[in-house]
């Protein structure tokens, strides 16, 4: 009885809501001259859904904010942003397929999307062949520079390099030996190649390296290798992915690999969201490096966190990937307004040099389609956040890493037709 009453009540509210929106829709469209539809393409199902859905939430919030502030103003007309959300389903070919659909069928001027490097690599040929534009928000291994992608996440020199420098020079384990642990795929392997080159330059020593196949949670052999290679403690650089971190931190703590015994782990894939899943009791005293941390004490950062909580629930957190996603929506809006058109080529030209007062501080779009950003090193605290220890100034992005042997001496510049994707410095 109670249930049926509930259903009735639900139906009533739903029908009311329909009437309300149809009136409201008419009302709001009055204040805009037109609408523009953009594409959002992240995994809403499958293993990546947990991470990627937070980006969808953030992008929706940014779009709503822009609309509330009057929309996008192009050529004297104001456009309301509408969006089509597509599900990449944690399956890389699906990302390519849905990209085609968004570009050809829906005719969107821009797609915000992707998380894993594999999904980006799958989408890249689609955007290049159709000369469309993808905005990609995740910190990644770089070694790529497409004219049709705008990368708002950190490149290795904006995350791992300052972090390695900090660990070797100023952490409690300064001067110690390094051990590198990662999941077995492209990001950890590329990132560790760079770290190894950097440690060598600094005069330190990498005493071991191991990769865990994705899905495997048996870390006992890795632990015994760490204990053998670093008997008196040292620096561990961790690029494990997702749930493997839980197994890793649970088991190293049981094995006595803890900050109190001189082992310090620097993490490149653990943000506020992951800390709350793994449990701060396992992570306290270890480190993380990001461009944005929720504990940044500036009005812009606080406002970002506050509006996100207000929109999606008080128990939600914001982290670096979400901040990147937020920035890219605003940067797109600014570029479109400057270009005075939604046309891709004009927007691409207008995009370079755009500045935005992001939650992390000022960012600027560089000629290589990456962002100049601030890097922060934080210590994980018992409350599940970061205590920020140091902050670099603005660091310019290197699409081609200067420490990786395969890309040393190369750079990317899309503003100069003679330079392009990869030119010798």
């Amino acid at each position: 009885m109670r249930i049926s009453r509930r259903i009735l009540a639900g139906l009533a509210t739903a029908s009311l809501a329909v009437t309300a929106t149809s009136c409201g829709g008419g009302g709001t469209s009055g204040s805009f001259d037109d609408t523009v539809t953009v594409g959002i393409l992240h995994s809403l199902s499958g293993t990546m859904a947990i991470s990627e859905s937070t980006l969808v939430d953030t992008e929706k919030m940014a779009i709503e904010e822009i609309n509330a502030a009057g929309g996008v103003k192009v050529g004297g007309k104001s456009y309301k942003i509408e969006y089509i959300v597509e599900d990449g389903a944690s399956d890389w070919p699906t990302f390519a397929e849905k990209s085609k659909k968004l570009i050809d069928q829906d005719g969107v001027p821009v797609v915000f999307g992707g998380w894993t490097s594999a999904s980006r690599k799958a989408m890249l040929p689609v955007y290049e062949s159709k000369d469309a534009f993808l905005y990609y928000p995740i910190q990644y291994e770089a070694q790529e520079c497409s004219n049709n992608i705008f990368y708002t996440g950190a490149t290795p020199n904006q995350q791992s390099e300052p972090a390695t420098d900090f660990m070797y020079k100023r952490s409690p384990a300064a001067g110690g030996d390094f051990f590198l642990v990662g999941s077995d795929y492209v990001f950890p392997r590329t990132s560790n190649t760079i770290t190894k080159a950097q440690v060598k330059q600094l005069g330190g020593k990498v005493v071991g390296e191991d990769y865990l196949p994705l899905g495997n949670t048996e870390v006992a052999p890795i632990i015994s290798k760490i204990k053998k290679a670093l008997p008196e403690g040292g620096i561990i650089i961790n690029t494990l992915n997702g749930d493997q971190n839980v197994a890793f931190f649970k088991q190293i703590q049981d094995a006595g690999i803890t900050p109190s015994k001189g082992y310090y782990v620097m993490n490149y894939s653990i943000a506020e969201e992951e800390i709350s899943t793994i449990g701060p009791e396992f992570l306290e005293g270890h480190y993380g490096a990001w461009n944005y941390m929720m504990s940044i004490d500036t009005p812009a950062s606080k406002k970002f966190a506050k509006s996100f909580k207000k929109r999606w629930g008080a128990d939600r957190v914001v982290a670096d990937p979400q901040e990147s996603a937020y920035n890219m929506v605003y940067l797109w809006k600014q570029a479109v307004e400057d270009a005075g058109t939604f046309d891709d080529n004009a927007v691409r030209e207008a995009l370079v040099g755009q500045k935005f007062d992001a939650p992390q501080g000022p960012v600027e779009v560089m000629p290589n389609h990456h962002l100049s950003q601030t890097v922060r090193i934080g210590e994980i605290n018992a409350e599940g956040g970061f205590t920020i220890l140091e902050e670099t100034g603005v660091v310019l992005p290197q699409a081609w890493n200067q420490k990786h042997p395969s890309s040393k001496g190369f750079a990317c510049d899309w503003t100069d037709p003679k330079k392009g994707e990869k030119y010798r410095l």
Binding site: D210, Y211, P213, E218, P221, A247, Q251, D254, G256, G279
Partner: protein, 384 residues
Amino acid sequence: MELLFDSLFNGVAIGSVLLVAALGLAIVFGLMGVINLAHGELMMLGAYTTYVTQLIFKLPILKPFYNSYIIVSIFLAFIVSGVVGILLEKTIIRKLYGSPLETLLATWGVSLILQQFVRSVPLAYGTGLVISLIIGLFLPTTFPQKIKESINFKYFKFSSWIFAALSGVLTGGLISSTVSKLSRASARNVDVTAPSWMRGQVEILGTAFPKTRLMIIIITLISVIAITLFLNQSAWGMRIRAVTQNRQMSDCLGISTEKVDIITFGIGSGLAGVAGVAVSLLGSVGPNVGGNYIVGCFMVVVLGGVGNLLGTVFASFGIGIMTDLIGAGRLLSIWPDMPLPLSNTINFFATTSMARVMIFALIVIFLQFKPTGLFPQKGRMVEN
């Protein structure tokens, strides 16, 4: 010496996780010949049972006993996975005996259903559903013989299912209203935190061992001993062995093979649940947790010799010790000045991913020479 000890312990630790995971399968696949691809998901149910038990023990009434929740959850996980296994046997697998390919497909389907179930149903109501199943399946068997034989027994059975459904809904509602974390469906991985007495290390003979690993070894040992005793000493164990050896003859001699099948499958599934508790202590608990182990389980059972528990024990410890020897590059530390090409080869395989490749390769080569595994089945069954 210390190195050997360390390596042996690590090998046993890795092996015991494999063993506890494969033990149930050794019974279901080894003794009954059922290829159960949902075995990993039965483990996953066990892991989720641990999580639910942990949260319930955080309630004010049970708080004083919080430290013992892990022991309780071992029994609960056995019951939960066992009951789901029995349901699986009664509804799906029974119809498919003798057709391995269909069983394989059907159980794979079940594994997908179970994964999606924990993703999209609030755990509180999942618990309620399991409680309904337990009551519905077992209440009718407790009725006195007189009622069981009466013509109206089906009404009794029906009403006991209604009672079961009601109590399931009630417990589901009760749990969801008291433990807010269980009241919402979530695809997020959850976390089991071992009670404080199980965290950290313990010193044995000057070497420190993680307590959770020791706990898993103990759970494994107890499971192996219990199941061996059950199979060799109890009347039902004898019947199970009889049916394994010759189904028709046992049937003729008055053993209810149907009942034997249910019990065997139930026990095999229940052991998967116990494995789930062990696994939840090592990593996070999520819908895919069991899938990561299923290949390893089959590998162990096949390597040990189908139908032989002892083989399973040897195979899992063998694989465990090999994993540690290869993956941690132990040979290098035993013999530090070996010739360069050899040490390079060993170094190449001394990562977790390469060690796995190496072990699979070794098993494939081994099975070329001994296709029936370490301890092949002898006697009449071979001829079938």
